[in-house]
């Protein structure tokens, strides 16, 4: 009964909330991210709170060439992987500055594909495991206000969808999570509508519930499913005029 989960990009608010959720249910935690010092503080906290094994590892989503080594260095492979890292960036900057656009694409899409390919092959061979990817509602339709980020997330959503189909034959579950507005450090200073903005804890609770029910795709909060249903169906000539 020593189930373990690897959390990639573990220092973000959503990742911390997810780690707490899994930790509180007795899961061992492998925390991976760039700032190992910070993650070590989280590790100490989770150990104290939940009396579970927690370890922190250095991991950089955009250092693709290091991913295979990172995976091999893990002490025992986790039962599941939760891919939380992402980079919002600035839409306006990304339009003119290739480095900024590339960073969004590399972090949200390429980096995720790189590390999850490795995990997926391992799990497929083992015929067990799960992969949870934190994508975004921004990937459901490119909007003028954040289509660089949105298109990278759209790529990630499509990737997870294909991966899910492939791994379904090997008893490996793949879940796509699409959060809407979440009050995190990433969105600090943005004015998001209070009623539509979730807390990281709500997102984590939604992820855990959906994981237990074996859902393929989950929107969090739930109402985003309906908001996005409307948004994807707005005719192009109307959509163009909306300041979305």
């Amino acid at each position: 009964m020593n189930r373990s989960v690897l959390i990639l990009g573990a220092s973000s608010d959503i990742a911390r909330a997810i780690a707490r959720k899994f930790g509180s249910e007795g899961w061992s935690l492998l925390l991976a991210g760039r700032d190992v010092e910070l993650l070590s503080r989280d590790a100490a906290d989770f150990r104290l709170r939940y009396k579970v094994d927690v370890e922190a590892f250095g991991f950089d989503a955009v250092a693709f060439e290091s991913h295979a080594r990172f995976w091999d260095s893990l002490p025992g492979k986790p039962e599941g992987v939760i891919c939380v890292f992402g980079y919002l960036g600035g839409q306006k900057v990304s339009e003119r500055n290739w480095d900024e656009a590339k960073k969004a694409i590399d972090t949200n899409f390429t980096g995720a594909v790189s590390i999850l390919n490795i995990a997926a092959n391992d799990f497929e061979e083992r015929k067990s495991g799960f992969i949870i990817g934190i994508s975004s509602v921004a990937g459901d339709r490119g909007r003028m206000s954040n289509y660089i980020y949105g298109s990278a997330k759209a790529g990630f959503t499509a990737y997870l969808s294909g991966l899910r189909a492939r791994l379904s034959k090997s008893e490996v579950k793949v879940m796509t999570v699409k959060p809407g507005f979440v009050a995190t450090r990433m969105t600090e200073g943005m004015s998001t509508p209070a009623l539509l903005t979730a807390t990281p804890q709500q997102v984590a609770a939604d992820v855990m519930r959906a994981y237990k029910r074996g859902k393929p795709v989950v929107y969090t909060r739930w109402f985003w499913k309906y908001i996005m249903l409307i948004i994807v169906h707005i005719p192009e000539r109307v959509f163009r005029k909306l300041k979305l």
């Binding site: 220092s11 608010d13 910070l38 503080r41 989280d42 100490a44 906290d45 104290l48 709170r49 450090r185 600090e188």
Partner: protein
């Protein structure tokens, strides 16, 4: 963003910053371009103690660091809430050394306000159980202080309202408990005299607090319900109960601000009569939450006071003159129909050491008043009564007292100012309150 305290008055359009580490906070402090800054935890101080142009929110600085299960010493970051400590440590047989009437305050806030609880008469205030504090000073350096290391900084930081710097971490000593239950005794008293006598007679109880019906006048003036408590032993609760397993409570919430007319003399009178009538004398075993946190079960209860908000007026009067002073205050409240929804009375123990700690030996009374156009004038008059009897007001609850009132009540303010001038000469850390009071 528009920020306000628990009393929903006053409010300020402020910038809020969060931080994950010292380095992060240092960078945030540098990035502040205009105005002052003040640390803020869960925003449970009632008035303007945690309001400024820039709010340094400890919401992401909320990790446990270590726990020594031989001594009970818990080291944690300042944004950890008392609620989190209870959730984690009560099932392991540990309890807070001192707790205020809400569990939704942070460790940093509990130190900065030097909060007190129902055991003040034997345990002192929260800071009395703090072994050391790490705080970031205005110049970006980190200072550790304790009763023996930089003691002046320690005495100024406890009950320092965030004015000496931002508390990053602290070590707090928890106390052991045998069960998560409280053996509670309730005593009804007919008037104030009886209540004060009862406090003295029952001083042997670890926890004591009284609830006063402020609207009862004449010979019923100060009629009260006294609630006394001890941590229940295993024998108290009986074999059948698991000592620490509590079923989760259902929580209520006040979803929006109720219209101003909701609270008036009639509704408050009705509430108080019911409450007084309901309280039966005798002993019983209760879970710790309803004993310590009766209002935490109703989230956002402060919204019942409506959009204009409310003031909690908490005073302390020295024991010798206290009885007479309390009578005067209660007579005023009763005759003007100021409608206090909650009036809490407690006998404090010895004064605490920090320079600006509120508690001192005597009686403390806390009254909630919805804000009306005439309230502040009334409270100014009440201030002079308090002042005449040698009392003072609790800044954590305050949003309106005048500077003179504060200075008269806190004779150690000069020592405090000396420390502050040394660590923050340019007043990077200021709150609306510190400016209003001229600290």
């Amino acid at each position: 963003m528009l920020a306000h305290g628990w009393g929903r008055y006053p409010s300020i359009d402020a910038k809020s910053f969060t931080f994950n580490s010292e380095a992060d906070l240092r960078a945030r402090l540098k990035s502040i371009s205009s105005g002052s800054a003040i640390a803020r935890g869960l925003g449970r101080s009632y008035g303007d103690s945690s309001l400024s142009e820039n709010l340094l929110s400890t919401s992401r600085l909320n990790r446990f660091i270590s726990f020594d299960d031989t001594t009970g010493d818990l080291v944690c970051e300042s944004g950890v809430s008392l609620s989190e400590i209870l959730d984690v440590f009560v099932p392991r047989g540990w309890f807070l050394p001192v707790t205020p009437g809400t569990r939704f305050v942070t460790v940093g806030g509990a130190i900065a306000s030097d909060v007190h609880g129902k055991n003040h008469h034997n345990a002192g205030s929260f800071s009395n159980h703090v072994k050391w504090i790490d705080l970031i000073l205005a110049d970006g350096s980190v200072a550790r202080c304790s009763k023996s290391e930089r003691p002046e900084l320690f005495m100024a930081t406890c009950a320092g309202y965030g004015l000496t710097g931002v508390i990053l971490r602290a070590a707090v000593r928890l106390q052991t408990i045998e069960t998560a239950y409280i053996r509670e005794r309730t005593i009804r008293t007919k008037n104030l005299d009886e209540a004060l006598v009862a406090f003295d007679e029952q001083a042997g109880w670890t926890y004591s607090v009284g609830w006063i019906d402020c609207l009862a006048g004449g010979k019923h003036l100060g009629r009260s319900v006294l609630m006394l408590g001890e941590h229940a032993t295993r024998r108290d609760i009986g074999e059948s109960k698991d000592p620490f397993r509590l079923r989760p409570n259902r929580e209520l919430s006040v979803p929006f601000e109720l219209p101003g007319f909701f609270l008036n003399t009639m509704t408050v009178r009705a509430f108080n009569s019911v409450y007084y009538g309901k309280a039966s004398s005798g002993e019983r075993i209760v879970r710790y939450e309803p004993f310590f946190y009766p209002l935490d079960g109703v989230h956002n209860w402060s919204r019942i006071y409506g959009k204009r908000g409310f003031v909690q007026y908490q005073l302390v009067l020295p024991k010798e003159s206290g009885k007479e002073g309390l009578k005067k205050i209660l007579e005023r409240t009763a005759s003007k129909g100021l409608g206090s929804f909650l009036a809490v009375l407690k006998l404090f123990g010895k004064e605490d050491a920090p320079y600006l700690s509120f508690a001192k030996e005597g009686y403390t009374l806390a009254l909630d008043f919805p804000i009306t156009s005439s309230l502040f004038k009334e409270l100014d008059e009440m201030d002079s009564v308090v002042s005449n009897y040698g009392g003072r007001i609790y800044p954590t609850k305050d949003s309106r007292m005048k500077g003179e009132m504060f200075y008269a009540g806190y004779p150690q303010i000069d020592k405090f100012k000396e420390v502050r001038a040394a660590v923050d000469p340019n007043r990077r850390f200021e709150s609306l309150q510190s400016r209003r009071l001229g600290i």
